[in-house]
């Protein structure tokens, strides 16, 4: 790949990330507004569409403040440590049969490795701000993320076993066609339990309500991002929306057939639109949960993860491995 090609791909990733950020902020406000029986932004531009644009301008032009007692170096680095992994996580996404940043046979692992770096930036921001609220928020966020990473990874194992690959392109390709003549071969149908675990864990990984005790607004204001303003805060905010997109996109690839339409062959030009539509449907469901459920306590969340989600997902991995191994034997015995 030429240097220009690499640069072009990075530019495309960045544009996608920025556009996604602007769209998701508007979508979040409108969806949450509807769920709360409010209207949401409606004054700036038609349907309030320009509200987010104005917010971006505000963030870009705000003064860059740093508390006097903060740890200067760490305080300045932390937003980038949160932003960069989230940006890099676009690399393994597969938008169509030929449309992806690169082909990696360990693409799925790359996505999970990158998301596992997010808690470090959060801890760095929380500690360096030298504020009790920031530190508590940072510790909560990191504790939750490191716990929920385990069921997130384990739940991905079911689809990986079915596809026999860690390459997202091959996982998506394995979901083409139909079962019994009419059921789309989406892994969500046999892997429904894994999908439920994935949905819960990804909601926690992206720190959205009902699992947002890291930035519980009523008690911690904005948690680890408390002391940040201007574009430093903007980077953290963008990373949060970008992470939402990424977990939804990975969920789409693992469980809902990625860029493929059910029943009919997908033309190459339509594939990215199908993928984006599925991803945004996933994001909408996440926002729906966000708007309807009250917040859990942090100890409830942690014990739920370690005592329920992890055992369930481990058991499911064992069960599914046995099913997949024994299926050919049983099928042969039945047909004989």
């Amino acid at each position: 790949m030429s240097a220009l090609g690499i640069l072009g791909r990075f530019a495309a990733m960045l544009v996608l990330l920025l556009v996604n950020g602007v769209v998701l902020i508007y979508m979040l406000r409108k969806v949450l507004g509807r769920l709360h029986l409010r209207i949401g932004p409606n004054r700036v531009g038609p349907f309030g569409l320009l509200q987010t644009t104005n917010d971006v301008i505000k963030l870009l032009t705000k003064e860059d403040l740093r508390p006097d007692s903060a740890d200067a170096w760490l305080f300045n680095i932390a937003p980038y440590l949160i932003f960069v992994p989230s940006f890099m996580a676009y690399i393994p996404l597969v938008f169509g049969p030929t449309l992806a940043v690169t082909n990696l046979d360990t693409g799925l692992l790359l996505a999970f490795a990158l998301t596992s770096l997010v808690p470090l930036g959060v801890l760095m921001a929380g500690w360096s701000s030298n504020s009790k609220w920031s530190l508590i928020g940072g510790m909560r966020a990191a504790g939750l993320q490191i716990a929920y990473e385990v069921p997130l990874l384990l739940s991905a194992l079911g689809p990986v076993m079915m596809a026999g690959s860690l390459d997202p392109a091959r996982i998506v390709a394995a979901q083409s066609g139909v079962w019994l003549g009419f059921i789309p071969r989406w892994f969500v149908i046999p892997q429904i339990l894994a999908f439920v675990v994935y949905a819960i864990a990804s909601q926690a990984e992206t720190q959205q309500t009902p699992f947002d005790m890291s930035e519980a607004e009523s008690e911690l204001i904005t948690g680890f991002a408390n002391e940040y303003g201007g574009m430093r805060f903007g980077f953290m905010y963008l990373a949060e929306f970008s992470n939402t997109f990424i977990v939804s996109a990975i969920g789409t690839m693992l469980f809902f057939g990625g860029w493929q339409l059910p029943w009919v062959a997908t033309p190459a030009w339509l594939a990215p639109f199908v993928f984006i539509a599925k991803t945004y449907t996933g994001i909408f469901v996440m926002m729906w949960a966000r708007g309807s459920l009250p917040r859990f306590r942090v100890d409830q969340m942690l014990s739920f993860c370690w005592k329920v989600l992890i055992p369930v997902s481990l058991a499911w991995v064992v069960v599914w491995a046995c099913v997949q191994r024994l299926w050919p034997v049983v099928a042969m015995a039945v047909s004989r």
Partner: protein
């Protein structure tokens, strides 16, 4: 697979790894030291990547940078009673110096007398499939022993933290 790795990225990554390791020891602030440790782990992941060991690089990133570093930071932050305690005083006592010197001599001797094993570079970089097949067929026993050792450590840690009613 090329006979040697690209020089410039190797020098940069090696300098980052060694320099970061020095900073882990030299920085007086334990939290800074923990973040330098993270930097070392990322640089080592980069070195793996340079050797076309993509899978190892990702595992290094996920396990060491993503999990071990977070645990180290957690322990450090939870055990600090006050923020000022993060700054450690410099220990200039004779005993500390002697231990440091002893370790230095031992490690130095090991490095000087080390002869790299003559291994033929493989013609083609093995992918994650070959790696997995190897791990679960020919190397299954060491793999299982490693997992049992980790399990014992886990059970031990839980027992240790169990408190009075264990």
């Amino acid at each position: 697979m090329p006979e040697s790795v690209a020089a410039v990225p190797f020098i940069v990554l090696a300098a980052l790894a060694v320099g970061g390791a020095a900073m882990v020891i030299l920085s007086r602030n334990v939290v800074h030291a923990a973040f330098w440790l993270l930097e070392v782990m990322m640089a080592v992941a980069g070195l793996f990547m340079l050797l076309s060991a993509g899978f190892l690089a990702l595992v290094q990133m996920m396990v060491y940078a993503g999990a071990v570093s977070v645990l180290v930071l957690f322990t450090v932050m939870l055990t600090l009673r006050r923020r000022e305690d993060a700054e450690r005083p410099l220990d200039l006592s004779w005993s500390a110096g002697l231990i440091a010197l002893g370790v230095f001599v031992a490690v130095g001797a090991a490095v000087v007398s080390f002869v790299p094993p003559a291994v033929m570079a493989p013609v083609r970089t093995p992918g994650v499939t070959e790696f997995g097949t190897q791990l679960f067929t020919q190397r299954a026993l060491p793999f299982e022993i490693a997992s049992v050792v980790l399990l014992i450590a886990l059970v031990g840690a839980v027992w240790w933290a169990g408190g009075e009613d264990r």
